[in-house]
């Protein structure tokens, strides 16, 4: 099957600053894909390149097989982009804005879908209100609606929940999840890593214009950091054979200061049974025990600080 988005060796420089350094990615049709990275990593440059707003110096981007420069009309028909900036045209109402956007994509008499999009984003009561009179959250909803007016198979959301309330987040994710279930490919950039963890099936992490991690969410969570088993011992100490499992990296440092409390790294839940057996054999008695699953934020920090082996696990 043709990739939803195929990015081949894309490089982009601005006045000597290299924002993208040969990025290659394939995003498959129907995926919910996360594009993560700190500010300045190149996420928005990459999204703008996908959208045709920035032209790459080297490399190419294809949407459903259509080159975004050479075959831009077909490529753009397949793509809906929610820009990061809260932009709007102050001359028009919400409904006018959506009808115009629909027309730019060659669609007339599209009111049925426009009404459905507005309904799903709780915009219907504001349909005839001028854009200037809307709150920031409502303007953000209109931006999402504008990206969806032509039912694009690929939806790119560039930090869609930045600075918006919980209600919009829930409304937005409910609607976007529905579209993803119906077969739309979704690409998300966000600084809210818990959102990415909850929504994305696969993630790419960008750092200074390079892809430094690319994997499924489950693999990233399991392979990169593993989990932590926190044990507080009532009697006895940690046996010598388990000392190599004590978490030593900077991120975990604070967890080992509890006297008889130890944080042990476990790569697999099956290892827990072995650890408990070794503790029993050594005569140690467990007072409290907690299994902590590493989350995306832990992994993100490790990768961005370059302190994890995950940097090499670009798949």
């Amino acid at each position: 099957m043709t990739a939803a988005i195929q990015i081949d060796s894309v490089e982009k420089s601005y006045k000597g600053f290299k924002a993208l350094k040969g990025v290659s990615l394939n995003i498959e049709q129907g995926e919910f894909f996360g594009l993560l990275g700190p500010n300045g990593a190149g996420k928005t440059t990459l999204i703008s390149t996908i959208a045709g707003l920035i032209r790459p110096d080297v490399g190419s981007v294809r949407i459903h097989g259509h080159d975004v420069v050479k075959d831009f009309r077909q490529a753009r028909m397949k793509l809906g982009v929610v820009p990061q900036e809260l932009v709007f045209d102050p001359f028009f109402t919400v409904r006018e804005t959506l009808r115009l956007q629909s027309g730019y994509f060659g669609l007339k008499n599209n009111d049925k879908w426009i009404d459905e999009v507005m309904e799903n984003l709780d915009l219907t009561p504001k349909a005839d209100v001028n854009m200037r009179a809307l709150s920031g959250g409502m303007k953000r909803r209109v931006l999402v609606a504008q990206a969806l007016v032509h039912k694009p198979p690929v939806i790119v959301l560039d930090e869609p929940t930045a600075g918006v309330d919980v209600e919009l987040r829930q409304t937005l994710w409910k609607f976007i999840s529905r579209l993803n279930r119906e077969g739309h490919t979704v690409v998300l950039t966000t600084h809210y890593l818990e959102e990415a963890q909850a929504m994305c099936q696969r993630v790419a992490m960008l750092k200074t214009g390079n892809v430094v991690a690319l994997d499924t969410m489950s693999q990233l969570l399991r392979r990169v950091s593993g989990s932590s088993l926190v044990v507080h011992l009532k009697h006895g100490g940690l046996p010598e054979g388990l000392r190599h499992l004590v978490a030593h990296d900077e991120h975990d440092e604070g967890k080992n200061n509890g006297g008889d409390t130890y944080t042990l790294r476990v790569n697999d839940y099956n290892e827990v049974e072995g650890i408990l057996a070794r503790l029993r054999e050594s005569g140690a008695e467990i007072d409290e025990m907690q299994l902590q699953q590493a989350d995306l934020e832990d992994i993100f920090i490790q990768i961005m600080e370059g302190s994890s082996q995950a940097g090499a696990s670009v798949r």
């Binding site: 703008s48 045709g52 115009l100 027309g103 730019y104």
Partner: protein, 255 residues
């Protein structure tokens, strides 16, 4: 390439809606300005100077004012729309859809032509009460009004693409468009100028637009209307080619 595609028609409609929603500023204000010019210059100079044989100064002035309004408002429409969209960031709504370069240019230009003609018609309707006007060759009037508005609409697109802030666009308007229009024979016949300025005027394309337009009213002009038509048409094609090239390259639009 379908010039009457839904995309083109939508962008054209949006541009009309944009100026229509602020009609006081975009239509009424320039009509009033032109009216003031007529009252002041007509009152001072009528009966004292004669620019064309058998034509009163007020009669001479009216076609000039109409064409000046057409040109300036056609330029203002496309240039202000583009610069506002660039600065507020909503130009992205035009850049993300699959609109071709020709569709974008033609939508902006035709909307500019329409605004120019609406303002020009307004100026004509208000000022025509003050003098007798003849219509010797109406087709010339239509041809030069359309071409002149098309040229300034295209020039507005180029200026809107080039300018990165309102200040730069104001400079383009104040130091190029306004002087070129004023010095193109709106208020006088270039035959009344000293030889040097007469020669300089022939390098001003705006002169041919106004001179040809005025020919349609009085059947008299400083140069042949065919010459004017040829020069104006070439100028239009050249500007349209530049504008399409800028849009195709994404100059200052797609980085």
């Amino acid at each position: 390439m379908n010039l009457f595609s839904v995309g083109f028609k939508t962008l054209f409609y949006k541009e009309i809606l944009r100026f229509w929603k602020v009609a006081t500023q975009t239509i009424a204000a320039p009509v009033v300005s032109a009216m003031l010019y007529l009252l002041i210059f007509g009152h001072v100079l009528d009966g004292r100077v004669e620019m064309l044989d058998g034509v009163s100064y007020t009669s001479f002035l009216i076609p000039g004012l109409v064409m000046m309004s057409v040109l300036q408002n056609a330029f203002a429409n496309s240039s202000s729309s583009l610069i506002q969209s660039k600065i507020t960031g909503n130009l992205v709504f035009i850049l993300l859809p699959p609109l071709s370069h020709v569709e974008i240019l033609s939508a902006y230009v035709t909307a500019s032509v329409l605004r120019g003609l609406v303002v020009g018609l307004g100026v004509f309707v208000i000022t025509a009460w003050f003098a007798h006007l003849s219509f010797v060759a109406p087709l010339w009037i239509v041809a030069f009004a359309l071409l002149g508005a098309g040229i300034l609409g295209t020039l507005g697109v180029i200026a809107g693409i080039w300018a990165e802030k309102f200040d730069q666009l104001a400079a383009f308007q104040n130091f190029l468009i306004t002087p070129a229009t004023f010095l193109a024979g709106v208020f006088y016949s270039i035959k009344k100028l000293p030889p040097f300025w007469l020669a300089v005027s022939h390098f001003n394309p705006f002169f041919y637009m106004i001179d040809g337009f005025r020919y349609g009213f009085f059947g008299q002009s400083d140069v042949s209307p065919w010459t004017s038509l040829a020069i104006v048409a070439v100028f239009f094609v050249a500007l349209a080619a530049i504008a399409i090239n800028l849009l195709r390259r994404g100059y200052k639009l797609r980085h």
